[in-house]
């Protein structure tokens, strides 16, 4: 750990992504929601299609597929991984930990640590902080960070407020110690506001509100969306207000903490919520299009995997060469947010 400014000599060595096969396009949604023609969905959300996991396909399956692709690149072998972090809000079971099952499925050594953490759209940046912390502490050298979610399983088919936005997907990121390379992860800025828990929530199914006949009761809101307590609910307005309030603040805090200014960054990678949110944020942060890469038109909002989907695209395009500096900001359900500076 470089105590001067909270950086860790570590790097993102490889990223692989995975999407389920089933496509949910705007024509299909328009047939279900006659007030929203396909063109309007695209114009407003910026999303043309999303992927949806099959009935028997879980976040764990998607995450394993992403990790398998990462190993197939030859960057790292399974036996070289010494810690596994899995971020999901749709685990296979209440217990055991999905990451433990993943260790076995991926053929990772039994001498590794493995744990799940439950975060949504802020999860990738939090995962990087955990990975960097393990490396800084000397507890691990090669951390496999897997993000995967299947919000589709929580979404009511008659709720256009979320069905149009979210897509299922997964990413696997290898974070490894990189002393004396100039590569750095950090500093980080974190934020949490649990008073906004109800703004983005699947209310039932835990122990506060166990599944019951009552939690299956469907209600219709003012906009004509139908859902039950078992389904995902998003108060879009509250989430927009929170985002416009906290993300610019975290952005400025990170610039101050890392003693950088906007021009020092090649890319500002924001959580890919949707077009209208990114447009609003980008305006507020006064950032130009070329600085803020986007990837949601063909996959939607993949929750904790949106940032690695963008990073994977940049890697593929050769835009993350040595010396590149990026900022990543995740924000959403919790409410929870985090920002990080990464020197590649």
């Amino acid at each position: 750990m470089n105590r001067r400014n909270g950086t860790v000599p570590a790097r993102i060595a490889a990223i692989a992504t995975h999407l389920p096969d089933t496509v949910l396009d705007n024509d299909t949604l328009a047939a279900d929601f006659p007030s929203w023609p396909a063109e309007k969905i695209l114009e407003k959300t910026g999303i043309r299609e999303r992927r949806v996991a099959a009935a028997q396909e879980t976040a764990l399956d998607l995450g394993c597929a992403a990790a398998a692709k990462l190993f197939a690149t030859g960057t790292v072998r399974p036996d070289e991984v010494d810690f596994l972090l899995f971020c999901t809000q749709a685990p296979d079971h209440i217990l055991p930990t999905s990451a433990c099952i993943m260790q076995d499925r991926l053929g990772l050594p039994q001498q590794i640590g493995a744990l799940d953490f439950n975060l949504g759209c802020s999860g990738y940046v939090y995962g990087l902080s955990l990975a960097a912390g393990l490396i800084a502490a000397g507890a691990a050298r090669r951390v496999l960070l897997v993000t995967a979610d299947t919000y589709s399983k929580y979404i009511h088919t008659r709720d256009k407020s979320v069905r149009t936005l979210f897509g299922d997907g997964a990413a696997a990121t290898l974070v490894e110690a990189a002393p004396d390379t100039g590569c750095e992860i950090g500093p980080f800025v974190f934020g949490t506001d649990g008073s906004g828990a109800e703004s983005l929530i699947v209310k039932a199914g835990g122990f506060r509100h166990p599944h019951s006949a009552d939690t299956l009761i469907e209600t219709e809101d003012r906009s004509g969306n139908i859902r039950s307590a078992d389904n995902l609910y998003m108060d879009g307005g509250a989430v927009m207000s929170f985002t416009l309030r906290e993300v610019p603040r975290a952005f400025r805090q990170l610039l101050a903490k890392s003693d950088t200014n906007v021009d020092d960054y090649d890319h500002i990678v924001l959580h890919q919520a949707n077009k209208f949110m990114l447009d609003a944020l980008q305006k507020k942060l006064d950032l130009t299009d070329d600085k803020v890469p986007r990837r949601f038109e063909d996959i939607g909002n993949t929750v904790s995997s949106t940032i690695p989907f963008v990073l994977a695209g940049l890697l593929e395009d050769g835009k993350l060469d040595a010396g590149t500096r990026i900022m990543a900001i995740g924000f959403g359900v919790g409410l929870s947010w985090a920002a990080v500076t990464i020197a590649m």
Binding site: S35, G237, S241, L244, R245
Partner: protein, 72 residues
């Protein structure tokens, strides 16, 4: 035509010239997406955050203006 009215006309999908304080926000148009977009518009034009709940209670354009506290 103020920046706010232009933005609001786009969100409500009406001709800018048709937009007046008296215009009713009918349920078909004043949905969650319109409210979200209006929060972003108010933030952009007035650098002010309005509550989503209060905004969803508005039934006319004039009530939005009252909420913003502007005289545009």
């Amino acid at each position: 035509m103020s920046e706010f009215y232009e933005g609001l006309a786009e969100i409500l999908e009406v001709e800018p010239s048709k937009l007046t304080s008296d215009l009713a926000l009918d349920e078909g148009v004043w949905d969650s997406l319109a409210i979200v977009s209006t929060i972003a518009l108010i933030d952009e034009v007035y650098d002010r955050t309005v509550s989503a709940d209060a905004l969803s209670e508005c039934r006319t354009v004039g009530e939005i203006e009252k909420l913003v506290g502007s005289d545009s």
